[in-house]
């Protein structure tokens, strides 16, 4: 890969068609851009009014997070009681913000499976390599220690990094695809750009606070679908997820799934480092 990247200057550059395309680029219609100062002022106004913190934990004042969490909790609890379509839409929007879209309803029929379900382009690697490859911080629950198997999926940089823990730590399977269902599966991805997973739940997802971070607990098996980079929902990869905790920490959204009750899941999430 790196070799090919370095080899930037290709014979194509001497291609008359390439030269023509470059020239065509000068003649394309581009609506006039607003003045740079105007864009800068508009963006600043939006950042100030929304109180958006800069990325990175250090820049997030605790009070803002609590306020945000409180606002979301208020809307979600309203959703539990009222369940009007408007509120449901608000809830879906808020959860989509963390890269997971939760929809109410049955969702597609998914065969219950005791097998491991791979994501597109999945390959096994190790934690250090996954950290080098991923463009978001990978968090590991200190309470579990390093995972038995680390899997990166969907391109480079990988869109999803999964940490798999098996009941028998001495002999983790080397290839998860088609293999044993892990006891705990932790999927991590950059949560703030576009949706990565879509879930269907009958009940509401339950909001829980983990420190100053907002999380959701889904207390039932539910269909989970993968949304690819182009925003297409991969129906064929639909699977039945176990009970799941979702937490957004900085840029990383973490989904902890497995044979866990709510308290244990929260306890694990608290030790994410």
């Amino acid at each position: 890969m790196a070799e090919r990247e370095r080899n930037e200057s290709t014979p194509l550059e001497n291609d008359p068609l390439a030269a023509e395309l470059h020239e065509l680029g000068q003649h394309l219609e581009v609506t006039p851009a607003p003045a740079a100062g105007q864009v800068a002022a508009a963006v600043r106004a939006r950042l100030e009014s929304a109180g958006v913190p800069a990325g990175g934990r250090s820049a997030r004042p605790w009070s803002q997070l609590v306020f945000r969490a409180a606002a979301v909790l208020a809307i979600l609890f309203a959703g539990l009681l009222v369940v009007s379509p408007q509120v449901r839409a608000a809830v879906a929007d808020l959860l989509r913000f963390a890269g997971i879209e939760i929809r109410q309803g049955q969702g597609p029929q998914v065969p219950p499976s005791g097998r491991y379900s791979p994501l597109p382009g999945e390959r096994v690697t190790d934690l250090d390599t996954a950290r080098e490859l991923a463009d978001f911080p990978i968090l590991v629950p200190a309470a579990l220690g390093p995972p038995d198997t680390v899997v990166v999926a969907d391109g480079e940089p990988p869109r999803v990094v999964s940490l798999l823990y098996y009941p028998d730590a001495e002999s983790p399977p080397s290839a998860p695809a088609g293999g044993e269902q892990p006891m705990i599966r932790i999927d991590e991805f950059h949560g703030s750009i576009s949706p990565v997973f879509m879930k269907y739940v009958d009940q509401q997802a339950e909001p829980v606070a983990i420190g100053s971070y907002l999380a959701f607990w889904i207390d039932q098996p539910h269909p989970v679908l993968y949304v690819d980079r182009g925003g297409r929902v991969q129906e064929e990869l639909a699977r039945l997820s176990g009970r799941t905790l979702i937490v957004e920490i900085g840029d990383t959204t973490v989904r902890i799934e497995g044979d866990l009750d709510k308290e244990r899941a929260i306890e694990l999430a608290r030790t994410l480092r």
């Binding site: 090919r4 068609l17 023509e20 395309l21 219609e29 740079a36 864009v39 800068a40 391109g155 925003g231």
Partner: protein
Amino acid sequence: MRKNRPRATKPRNRRLWNRALGPAVPATAEAVARSTGGGSTDDATAIARARAGDLDAYEVLVARYSAPAHRTAVLLGAGDDAEDVVQEAFVKAYRALGRFKPESTFRPWLLQIVANETMNLHRSARRRSGLALRLAQIGDPTPAGDDPAGAAVRDERRRLLLAAIRELPEKDQQVLTCRYFLELSEAETATVLGWPAGSVKSRLSRALVRLRTKLAQPLGEGVPGG
């Protein structure tokens, strides 16, 4: 359960925290200003300051990159929504500054967010198809010493070229747009489109082959020269 497994080692934790927080960034904008002597703000300094919450520094970055961001949004198909897309992208970029790797360049990183926002627009209710590339209505003035007939031939050639591009698969249009109309390198194109690094070259050469084939069809002859 595995409560008794050894905890992650200290160095690993420290490294992780460093990743989460980014590189050692002075805690305040003043500290950055001191360490850099204040002068004109380069990208790295502006990013470090913005990360520390300095909106003035971020405003500098927005002003600096609003034009390429706008051009990217328009050419990737944002149409009349380009202004909204660009604003939204800058707001998201500010929020995501923590994951910006200091050794990388700000421009392609930002343009990736712009491209994502444009794709999100395609997926929204006002679903658009294709990149909607168009020739500028007002032709450029004929260069001095050039004859009007030659200019007309070139205009017609551009029209044919663009018509052929618009018939290509969307990914071909995206890769041609990034490489030739936005003048991004292959590596930058991969970043902006979120594709694997190795896939740009092959997609580009296939797109050029398809383009040549389309251009050859209406003319009934070989590949036209430049």
